[in-house]
């Protein structure tokens, strides 16, 4: 997640203080992970150095008194970021796959590995489903994104469970 770009995008609405920016980020995107103040100010410092924001000075010292405004360069930077696709994550280095293979190699029950993982995944999916039911549209979309990813993992688990004998034969060959 590019926090710099997100902050820049929020600044397109108008100049803001750092703490105001943090609050606005947390409300929209923070969910489980609110930004630390230090992170906000270090990001803003970087944006400032790169000429993507400028400071509207106010009397008084300290970073929390400064108001930040997006520059033209900042606006086109946000535009470029939105236009670029995110790199699809292939997850080729899967811990789960490693665990299954090692379970087979070491004579543990690989089905247990899969069952334990399934139940942990489902537990999280239940929490997200509950949260979705009590939430607004933003909560629903954010939870759904997580739910679809967890579901993909579970589909892989089922597929692997179905192919376990085949995999065991190969691994032990």
């Amino acid at each position: 997640m590019s926090i710099g770009h997100a902050l820049l995008g929020l600044l397109e609405g108008g100049p803001r203080h750092g703490y105001d920016l943090k609050r606005s980020y947390d409300e929209r995107f923070g969910q489980d992970r609110p930004l630390a103040y230090g992170q906000v100010y270090s990001t803003l410092a970087r944006l400032l150095k790169n000429g993507l924001v400028e400071v509207e000075s106010e009397p008084g010292a300290g970073p929390e008194r400064k108001k930040y405004a997006i520059t033209d360069a900042g606006v086109s930077d946000v535009g470029g970021w939105l236009a670029r696709p995110e790199k699809p994550e292939p997850y080729l280095q899967s811990t789960l796959y490693t665990k299954v293979v090692l379970a087979l190699l070491t004579g543990h029950d690989a089905n247990d590995v899969l069952d334990t993982q399934r139940s942990a995944h489902l537990r999280l999916m239940r929490d997200l489903t509950r949260r979705k039911a009590g939430g607004d549209l933003a909560d629903q979309l954010i939870c759904d994104h997580a739910l679809f990813h967890l579901e993909a993992d579970l589909r892989w688990l089922e597929l692997t469970a179905a192919r376990l004998q085949q995999l065991a034969a190969q691994v032990r060959a």
Partner: protein, 227 residues
């Protein structure tokens, strides 16, 4: 869990000809809980559901509902019990095509001896609760898949059963419609205190349950308690 289970399957075996469908399957359902039966295609989920509901009789093993051995009941006793205590939602085809949606929902109450007026009044309230009052006077064939499933849920719950058996209730629906059906279904089941046995291969549908049991090769492998 501290309480006695409401419904129990113990060591069920059932073969269709030479095909073993259940091979020592055991599972417990507690009052008011939502249990998801998951597992690969052909693993025996539907067969287990039908045994739990007294629709199929296992070759061996016992199904106990509220202290009564279902396998020892006469056919007519078993159907009476099914009518008064159980509700059913299947993937499709469970509504009577010649009746309107409203009459479909009223039907189980009529069969239970309710007056036509009372049955229709109650059916109307259930259609409203499932947000499908607008199809009340249509035949099931004139309703959409999602509307049909909501009518089916209303019909399953109208008698306030103790257990609802649902086999892939959202199987034929897209994800948005399926989720809405699950939301309404689960909320209504929780309100009425009905337990739900939910067969599904979709994890996002299973996420509406309290627990899952995984069926593999005719046997129940895992059942997690997370409450």
């Amino acid at each position: 869990m501290p309480t006695e289970p409401l419904l129990t399957a113990e060591d069920l075996h059932l073969s269709f000809g030479s095909t073993p469908a259940l091979d020592s399957a055991s599972v417990e359902v507690h009052a008011g809980e939502i249990l998801a039966l998951m597992g690969p295609s052909g693993s025996g989920k539907s067969t287990l559901l039908h045994c739990l509901a007294g629709i199929l009789t296992p070759d061996s093993g016992r199904v106990t509902y509220a202290g009564r051995d279902l396998t020892a009941l006469h056919d007519n006793e078993r159907s009476a019990l099914r009518r008064s205590e159980f509700g059913f939602v299947f993937q499709f085809g469970q509504l009577v095509p010649e009746l309107t949606c409203l009459e479909n929902v009223a039907l189980p109450l009529r069969l239970g001896g309710a007056s036509r007026r009372a049955a229709l009044r109650s059916a109307e309230a259930w259609l409203e609760r499932l947000e499908v009052s607008d199809v009340a006077d249509k035949r099931p064939g004139q309703a959409s898949g999602g509307q049909g499933q909501r009518v089916a849920v209303a019909r399953a719950l109208v008698t306030r059963p103790k257990v609802v058996f649902a086999d892939e209730p959202t199987g034929a629906l897209d994800s948005l419609n399926g989720e809405r059906v699950m939301e309404l279904f689960v909320a209504a089941a929780r309100d009425t205190g009905a337990a739900v046995v939910l067969v599904t291969h979709e994890p996002r549908v299973a996420a509406y349950s309290d627990h899952e049991a995984v069926v593999r090769d005719g046997r129940v492998r895992a059942r997690e308690y997370v409450r």
